[in-house]
Symmetry: C2
Subunit: 113 residues, 2 copies
DNA sequence: CATCTCCACAACTAAAGTGTTGTACAACGT
DNA sequence: ACGTTGTACAACACTTTAGTTGTGGAGATG
């Protein structure tokens, strides 16, 4: 689906807001950990060496953005990924970063050669 | 290219930092405007109703991230897109947002029906 | 040379976000 | 019934960031 051009201000804000959700390392790591399947807040905060409160807050952000789902089971709350598309985004970002690194390396080689 | 799992903290930070660059409406709009081709700081700040200084700062952020290129011609500085992949990212984000809206709409229809 | 235009840097203010601490509440086990 | 566990909320300090204002410097123009 092509983007409209010029992009309306509202849409620009919407897009930016979505990017902002992914603009925190802890949230990236939470998403990554959830690729293994749903997990509780405690499991996640343990796995990432984060405080329970901090993990909970970040999970809430991801859930509010519609990327995660919540499921309460007794005392615990299980979070799971509901928007698998975020991983495609992350991979694209990684690819772009890697391409940049390669370009830099070529430059360095060009200088030192 | 598949992402490593578990993701190293360093990579998580790198990815997050890259998302952060796109997490501002003004920068999204600057990128969008540059789809028409390279433009000077003045042209861009005029087109987006931004101050010259503000546009300049955001352009510097985008250029530092390797998304834009700079070209000086006499008195003016032309910026251009060098990393076309950012638009694929934006489109994916738009798609995800739209899918969410659709899901919400279906929910609403389900309630009101 | 004088002046004007275009751009970037620096300092400042205001706002937003992150992580911590303390706490409240619900569900579980004994 | 009581203490414990698991989660979320609120208040706080701290950091980061956006936007403005003021300014300096490079290049054009007269």
């Amino acid at each position: 689906m092509p983007l409209p051009h010029p992009i309306p201000e509202d849409l620009a804000e919407l897009v930016a807001r979505r990017f902002r959700v992914l603009a925190e390392p802890m949230r990236i790591r939470l998403l990554d950990r959830l690729r293994e399947g749903e997990a509780t807040v405690g499991e996640l905060s343990d796995a990432l060496a984060a405080s329970q409160q901090n993990a909970s807050k970040h999970l809430a952000v991801l859930a509010d953005a519609g990327m995660l789902g919540r499921r309460k089971d007794g005392n615990r709350v299980y979070y799971r990924i509901v928007d698998e598309s975020v991983f495609a985004l992350c991979e694209q970002v990684c690819d772009a970063a890697q391409q940049q690194l390669c370009a830099l390396q070529e430059l360095v080689e060009g200088v030192t050669a």
